[in-house]
Symmetry: C2
Subunit: 110 residues, 2 copies
Amino acid sequence: MSELCPRFEKAMQIISKRWVGLILFELLDGPKRFSEMESNLPVSGRLLSDRLKMLEKEGIVDRNIYSEFPVRIEYTLSKKGESLRPVIEDIQSWANEWIGSDEVDDVVEK
Amino acid sequence: MSELCPRFEKAMQIISKRWVGLILFELLDGPKRFSEMESNLPVSGRLLSDRLKMLEKEGIVDRNIYSEFPVRIEYTLSKKGESLRPVIEDIQSWANEWIGSDEVDDVVEK
DNA sequence: TTCTAGTAGTTACTTTTTGTAAGCTAATGA
DNA sequence: TCATTAGCTTACAAAAAGTAACTACTAGAA
C-alpha cells in the first residue's frame, strides 16, 4: 500500500502523537520533573505518564531517579531526543512567521 | 494553565494531527490528486478528505480545479505550506539517523 | 509502630475522536 | 443511459483521550 519512507513514517508516528511535541519543547529547556510538566502543560497525569513511558521506550527520554527525601525523578532528553532540537526549533520559527496572533486559540476543525 | 508559546501549540496542533505529516511529505514532491494520495498513503478517503479540508482552511494547501474531462482536482502546497519543507526535511534526516531499519514497523505502544 | 506529608504515578470509568466500509452525488461525454 | 472521476455521507466499531479518585514509596514525628 504505502510506498513512503518507512523510517519517516515511524518518526511521524512518534513525534505526531498528541502532547509529544509539547513535552519535547519543555525538555529542550532542561531537565523537568513529572509534576512540573504536569502543571506547565495542559495534559493530564495519565497521558503524561503514558507519553513519557513511550518516549523512554523509544530511547528519546531518560528517567533519572534521585534517592533524596522526598524522592526526586527527573526527565531529560537522551542524545537521540536532543537531536530533535532542529525539528522543534523549525516548527517554532514556522509558527512565529505564519500563525497569526488572532488564531492561536482556534480549534482545529475538520 | 499552560505557559507555552501559544503559536507553537497551535502549530503542533495542526502538524501533529494524524496523517498530516505524511500528506505534507507527499505534497512536497509536487501536486497530487485525491486518488493518488489515497493510494500512496495508508489513510482512508474519509480522513484524507477531512485533513485536506482542514489544511485548506489553515491556508497550507491549495485546491485547484481543472474543468477538463473528466474533472481534475489537484492539491498543492501554498507558500505557507511550502515553508514547512525544513520541518519535514529535518524529520526525514532525524529518522534516517536514529530510526533503525529493524524498528520501522513497530507499533508505538504506551 | 502507626501517622502524616510529599512525590510520582495508576486505575476505573466516561466521552471524544478515529477508522472502516458501503453507498451516494454530481458532471461529462460516448 | 451508462461508465468514469472525484469526492462526500452515513452508520457503525475501535481506539484514544479526559477525569477524578486511589495507590505506592519513603522518612521523620508522635
